[in-house]
Structure formats: structure tokens, C-alpha cells
């Protein structure tokens, strides 16, 4: 039945004869592994179109949606794999292009009558690089935006037409919504069309003129039909390439850097295939940089394009040497410049550290997006609302003049002039125990550099231990350890959730130790002499404390040493030192309350 259907189809369309050139193609010099680069390029192109179409179904080209939709794709195994294939196949194609062009150059297959094959093929290379350049920034990540901004400026540096082309590409003054829609339209619309047109001319010309026979005389016994002798070589190389691409896609996947974050200390770099130009431009100044980025690549392309004409004017023997030299210098120069660029970065400690930071931020962004999904304001809001990321920034900006946040090994944020307690582990049992320890309360980690050094609280604690030994000492230590736990528990829950029985027995303990002589604790004691221990260290307590340390619950009248009130105007938030949102982020960070996957 299949045969009948095919016969019917052939009668209507004549496909059997149309396909004859392909079916009956003969290679006069036999098959060769060198010929496989062409077919592999073609099939990888097909793979790119298919994976591209699939990704298109889910990707959204807007500043808010680009990163989020790509993260969405990455969340499914199939989506992540397809995106990885799309990414690594593009790299494979660039390498294959180089191989293909060098092979054609060295075998002089550009000679008459095949000049158009050479020209269309050569034009496909920069077209393909532009295709990759329009594709990489589509993720709208930190790296993507840095890339497209730099690339826009490089385009803009071309004399005369540069600024106009730049403005058309970017869609205005700044990278924004229009930039992504433009890149997308180019990437999925215009460039595929141009490539298909050039490819059609290229392939039809190959069939018209056949493969270049080379300088060898043809002999019948070497001739072989293309199918299956060349096909099997093509498919084998393609299979190896696809296997390699799939492994890379499976194992590593395409990268997705963090959404744009202006506080990130970022050092952008171009993709590996442009590293040579990145290195080359270092030898030019600002004004002449366009020679490296625009002129040299264009001149190289023009020389290559004109080789069929140049070749006719040179003796055949010399011209092979010239071509070989050209290829060696070209590839060699590219390799040296690329390696130099990478080596320079690997030796730069600052760059290595910045890369690490960027990787961690990307992982954090992805973890937050996995858990919370992206809010309507966009993926950058995920980062700006994350206490773990924003806490250290806010602490450095507002608190680190006086407070430090360093652990036992000294790692963390050091104060510029330590004149306030070390807040690492604030309201944890150990931190509170330090406050109740006569050896530590006057140290620089607590009151040592403040007005409270050797003050009422410190001397009370010291006096408690005075003259105590043996059993009495141990008993006091146990009681104070219990107090540390009691207060640490106050920090863990809001006052309204307190268990009445527990509060009552805690109050007994605190009264017994005379804490409530100065401190209030729920129903016991009064405000005014010392900070309120009710809800000590809880979110609400800490927010109120930082907002106004001179408030009656904390250090009223002239008891406050020198801590400023950071948000004392609830009705005029613009007049405050920090916003309510920043205050909440800071407090959540100090209390260790952030999302961990």
C-alpha cells in the first residue's frame, strides 16, 4: 500500500525525478571525510531551526519576561536539554565553519566556475556570527545586557553609519524593551530568511557544478555514488557531533546568568569566538579601536572574498603556499589572541573573584525563582527583595560605621570604627550568653567601645559573679544559661504567640535574678531604665529598635549612646534614613530569616 501511495504521489508531483540529482549524485574522486563538514553544517542548521522553533513557543522577548521565561524553560528537563542543544550546536557550527572554509580554501574549490559557491558560503559566516550575536542577549541577564550594550557601542563606533545602525538596533538611547524585540525579530525572522536564501544559492550551485575535482586526474575506479558512500561518512561525523553536543547540553546546559543587578561587581566578557577581537583591541586606543573591531574583520572578509580573482593572477604553485600561509596565520593568530585573552583573565584575581560572585548570584536567582516564581515587576525584584543578598549591602551602608558582623574567625563585615556591639548571631543563645558573661560584656564585641562599658548592666553582671565559687558559681551559670535560652526564644516568635505558662515561669526566673528591676518582661518590671525584654530580638522588636533606639521601649531620654534613629517618622517616610522595606530586609537578614533551598 505504501508503494501505491508513493506512485500516486510521484505521478502528481514528479518528486522521483526532482530528487534524481540527489539520488544519483556521483563523486568522481570518491568519498572523503573532508567533505563531511558541509553536510554536518547543513544538518546542524536544521537542528537549530527545530530547537529554535520549540524554544520560541515558550520564550517571551521583554525585559520583564525574557529571563523569567528562559528560567521557566530551564525548569523542565526537556526544555533545558533543548536549550542546551541550541546553545552548543551554535558553537559547533562556528567551529565547523572554520574547518569548512579552511578546507575549501586549501583545496582551491573556489576556482572558476565555483566563485558563487565561495562567495555565498563566505557571506554565510559573518551572517551566522551576527545570528549568534542576536541570540546570546535574549536572556536579558546581567551578562546579556552588558553584552548588547557593548556590541551596540562597537557598532556605533563605525564611522558615519555607526550611530544610526546602533540606534536602530537598540531601539532608542538605552537598552530596553525595543532592543529585545528587535533582536528577536532579527534572530527568528530576518536572519533565518537571509541564511536560507544564501544557502539555497550555495547548494544549488554545488549541484550544478559538482564538487571540485582538484588537481588529480579523474579516474573511473575511484568514482563512487554519493549515497551511501559519502552519506555514511557524513552521518558518522554528524552522529559524533550530535553526541558531543547532547552530552554538553545534558551535563552543563546552556548558561543562565543572574538578572540585572546594579550592585553586582560585574566584569563582562564576550563569547569565546570574539575573544581574539577583544584581545586585539587592547593594542588600539579609544579612537582607533574600531580598526580592531570593525576594520580588520571586514578587510579579512574582503580579502577572502576576492581570493578567486587574486588566485587567477598568481602562479598555481605559489598560490597554494599563499593560501596555506593565510590559513595558518589566520587560525594561528586567532588561537594566540584567544589564549592570551583567557590567560590574562585567569591571572587576574579580581576577575576570578568577580566571576565567582556572578556565579553565586546566578544560582541564588535561580533558587529564588524556583521557589517563589517571578513577581510582576520582573526577576530583578527577586534579588532586591532577598534578605540574604540585600542584608550585607544595607549593613555595610548603614550600620558598619559602628557595628561589625564578624564570626569567631573574624570573617564577615568589619566596622570602620568598632564602637558598637558585634551583631553576628544577634539574639542567639550564645550571643546573649556573652552579654551575661563578665569576661565578655566589657569586651569590644559587646559594650567595650560604647558608653555602657563598665556601666550599670556590666557592673551588675560582674557583681553577680563576685566571690562565687564551686556549686554557687555553677548554679548561677546554669541560671544565666537558662536566661540566654529564654531570651533567644523570645526572638523566635512574636509576643502574641507566647505560651502563657512558659512566660510565667520565665518571668519568675528573671525576677529571681533581679533582671526585672530594670528590664520589663511581659507583665513584670517597667520600661524606662533598660530595653524591654518582651519579644526581645523578635522581628517586631528589632524593627522598632532600629527605627528609633531612643524610643521608650529601648533607650529613652539620654540613655541612648549614639545610635541614630533610622526610621523615626512613620508618617513621613522620605525623611527617614532608610525605607520601611530596607529596614525589614535588614532585620530579616540579621535574624537569619531568608529562604534556603
Amino acid at each position: 500500500m505504501l508503494r501505491n501511495t508513493l506512485e500516486w504521489l510521484d505521478d502528481r508531483t514528479g518528486y522521483h525525478d526532482l530528487m534524481a540529482p540527489i539520488r544519483r549524485r556521483v563523486l568522481p574522486n570518491g568519498p572523503s571525510w573532508w567533505y563531511t563538514s558541509a553536510t554536518c553544517l547543513l544538518w546542524l542548521f536544521v537542528v537549530q531551526m527545530i530547537t529554535g522553533l520549540l524554544l520560541m513557543a515558550t520564550y517571551s522577548p521583554s525585559t520583564g519576561g525574557a529571563w523569567a521565561s528562559i528560567h521557566f524553560i530551564e525548569q523542565s528537563m526537556a526544555g533545558s536539554f533543548l536549550r542546551g542543544v541550541h546553545y552548543f550546536a551554535s558553537h559547533a557550527m562556528i567551529v565547523l565553519f572554520a574547518v569548512h572554509i579552511v578546507r575549501v580554501l586549501l583545496s582551491a574549490a573556489f576556482r572558476a566556475p565555483r566563485e558563487l559557491i565561495w562567495i555565498t558560503g563566505l557571506l554565510l559566516m559573518p551572517l551566522f556570527l551576527v545570528w549568534a550575536v542576536t541570540g546570546n542577549p535574549l536572556s536579558a541577564s546581567q551578562k546579556a545586557i552588558a553584552q548588547i550594550e557593548v556590541e551596540g557601542h562597537i557598532v556605533g563606533s563605525t564611522p558615519l553609519i555607526g550611530p544610526i545602525v546602533q540606534r536602530l538596533l537598540i531601539g532608542g538611547d538605552e537598552v530596553g524593551q525595543l532592543t529585545f524585540t528587535h533582536l528577536y525579530a532579527l534572530h527568528v525572522g530576518l536572519l533565518p530568511l537571509l541564511v536560507i536564501v544564501l544557502l539555497a544559492i550555495h547548494i544549488s550551485q554545488v549541484y550544478r557544478h559538482g564538487l571540485f575535482p582538484g588537481s588529480q586526474a579523474t579516474s573511473d575506479h575511484r568514482a563512487r555514488p554519493y549515497w551511501p558512500y559519502q552519506t555514511v561518512r557524513n552521518m558518522t561525523v554528524l552522529g559524533i557531533l550530535v553526541a558531543g553536543i547532547s552530552w554538553l547540553a545534558w551535563r552543563y546546559g546552556a548558561p543562565l546568568e543572574s538578572p540585572p543587578d546594579p550592585s553586582l561587581h560585574y566584569m563582562p566578557r564576550p563569547e569565546w569566538y570574539f575573544r581574539s577581537l577583544f584581545e586585539l583591541r587592547r593594542y588600539f586606543t579609544g579612537d582607533t579601536e574600531f580598526i580592531a573591531t570593525i576594520v580588520i574583520p571586514t578587510v579579512t572578509l574582503l580579502v577572502l572574498l576576492s581570493i578567486p580573482m587574486l588566485d587567477r593572477r598568481c602562479w598555481p604553485k605559489v598560490s597554494f603556499g599563499f593560501r596555506l600561509l593565510f590559513a595558518v596565520i589566520g587560525l594561528g593568530g586567532w588561537a594566540v589572541l584567544t589564549f592570551q585573552s583567557y590567560a590574562r583573565d585567569w591571572q587576574d584575581a579580581e576577575y576570578v573573584a568577580a566571576e565567582e560572585e556572578a556565579k553565586e548570584l546566578a544560582a541564588r536567582a535561580r533558587a529564588l525563582a524556583d521557589k517563589f516564581r517571578v513577581p510582576p515587576e520582573g526577576p530583578s525584584a527577586l534579588l532586591s527583595n532577598d534578605p540574604k543578598l540585600q542584608g550585607p549591602h544595607l549593613f555595610r551602608k548603614h550600620c558598619a560605621n559602628c557595628h561589625s558582623y564578624t564570626d569567631a574567625d573574624g570573617a564577615g563585615i568589619a566596622a570602620s570604627e568598632l564602637s558598637a556591639p558585634n551583631l553576628h548571631g544577634f539574639a542567639s543563645p550564645d550571643w546573649i550568653a556573652g552579654m551575661l558573661d563578665p569576661q565578655r560584656i566589657n569586651s569590644e564585641h559587646y559594650f567595650g567601645n560604647t558608653a555602657f562599658a563598665d556601666g550599670e548592666m556590666a557592673s551588675t553582671i560582674v557583681d553577680m559573679f563576685d566571690g562565687l565559687e564551686g556549686e554557687d558559681l555553677k548554679e548561677l551559670q546554669t541560671q544565666l544559661s537558662n536566661v540566654s535560652q529564654v531570651l533567644a526564644d523570645e526572638a523566635q516568635r512574636e509576643v502574641s504567640e507566647a505560651d502563657e505558662e512558659a512566660v510565667a515561669s520565665n518571668a519568675e526566673l528573671l525576677t529571681e535574678l533581679a533582671c526585672t528591676d530594670c528590664h520589663r518582661y511581659h507583665e513584670e518590671g517597667d520600661l524606662g531604665s533598660a530595653p524591654d525584654l518582651t519579644g526581645y530580638g523578635s522581628r517586631k522588636w528589632l524593627i522598632e529598635m532600629i527605627a528609633n533606639p531612643s524610643g521608650e521601649r529601648f533607650y529613652p531620654d539620654d540613655r541612648n549612646d549614639r545610635m541614630p534613629a533610622f526610621a523615626e517618622n512613620p508618617h513621613q517616610p522620605e525623611a527617614n534614613l532608610i525605607s520601611q522595606r530596607e529596614l525589614e530586609l535588614l532585620v530579616d537578614w540579621l535574624r537569619g530569616e531568608w529562604y534556603e533551598p
Binding site: 551511501p228 547532547s246 513577581p375
Partner: protein, 188 residues
């Protein structure tokens, strides 16, 4: 098998492998849409103050919640509408009021049900289905044409609740139902 046949076989094998490497994830990726989607839970919410409901007259209220749209979560959106009709009169104490609540989604094809201009009935603008204030579909005689709805308006449980400040509210359990069926079946 001769050499040529073997080469054809090998070519076919590699070609098939390359195709599958792209086709299998491709199909799986497209089929994701069939698998995605969280379960539609019912939402219990206070939708209107009791004093806003005049007796026997339909009042519309919004159901507010967070909505997940692919990669975005919208935290505060109107995700549903309900129609409320207070059935008991003013002499009844607040806690014993009876309020009929219906989802605003037409059981025919899902359009948003409106109230008629005189407020005596519910009407659907898409295919002119009409319902009485108790949710029952009007008959063809009453309507003058076929009533396309397969069943009456989907009722929801509603009860008066009092908040901490002493205000009385109507609390509704909002659910979504499958359109086009003669029986009321909750969406999953």
C-alpha cells in the same frame, strides 16, 4: 548484506539517532503543557459586608487571590466573581442570615453572568441564557427563546461571619466547575 547495504544501514542508524535526540525532548517539551497546572483549590474568603446586601437584590463581589501565569505570580488579583443574594429579611439576627451565593461563570460556555436591567434575573450576554435569583434557569416560555444553559447557576456555600472588630461579613467558599455538563462537577 553487501558493503553498500551495510553502509546504508549505518547511515540510517546514525540519522535515526540524531533525529531521536532532538525529537524525543521536543515532543516531551511540547507535551509539558498537558502536564502543567496546579490543582484548582477552593478559596474561602470574606467577600462583602452583610450590610451591603439589600434583601432580594443581587450584588456582585470579587474573589481576590494570587494567580500563577507560567513564570509569573501575580500576588493580588481578582481571580473570580460571585453573585450574592440575601434571602432573609432585616428582622433576622446577623448570624442567622441566609445568603445565596453563585459563581459568576455561566455553566454553558464560561461567560461572565450579569444581572438583568431590572435586577430581577441573572442573564448571560453571550447566548442569552437567563436564571432566576435562586439560580434556576428560566423556562423557554418565560424567556421567549431556548435557554442554552445545561444547568442552573452553580451555587456556593456562604455564611455570615463576624470579624474581630465586630463587623459582619459574608464568607464564601469559591470553587470552579466544569462548563457544558448537565451536572455540577468541580474542576480539578
Amino acid at each position: 548484506m553487501n558493503r553498500r547495504g551495510a553502509l546504508k544501514w549505518i547511515s540510517g542508524l546514525f540519522a535515526a539517532a540524531c533525529t531521536l535526540v532532538v525529537a524525543i525532548p521536543g515532543v516531551s517539551f511540547v507535551a509539558e503543557a498537558l502536564r502543567r497546572g496546579p490543582r484548582k483549590k477552593s478559596i474561602v474568603q470574606r467577600v462583602a459586608r452583610l450590610q451591603e446586601l439589600p434583601q432580594g437584590r443581587p450584588v456582585q463581589a470579587n474573589i481576590v487571590g494570587s494567580r500563577r501565569d507560567a513564570w509569573t505570580v501575580y500576588p493580588d488579583e481578582v481571580i473570580g466573581r460571585v453573585w450574592l443574594v440575601r434571602q432573609t429579611d432585616d428582622s433576622v439576627p446577623e448570624s442567622e442570615h441566609k445568603v445565596a451565593a453563585f459563581t459568576g461563570v455561566c455553566p454553558h460556555l464560561g461567560c461572565a453572568i450579569l444581572k438583568s436591567s431590572d435586577g430581577e434575573n441573572f442573564v448571560c450576554p453571550c447566548h442569552k441564557a437567563a436564571f432566576a435569583l435562586d439560580g434556576e434557569p428560566l423556562s423557554e416560555d418565560q424567556l421567549g427563546h431556548t435557554n442554552h444553559t445545561p444547568r442552573g447557576m452553580d451555587s456556593l456555600t456562604a455564611q455570615p461571619v463576624q470579624d474581630e472588630a465586630g463587623q459582619w461579613w459574608v464568607e464564601v467558599e469559591y470553587k470552579q466547575f466544569v462548563t457544558g455538563l448537565t451536572k455540577k462537577v468541580q474542576q480539578v
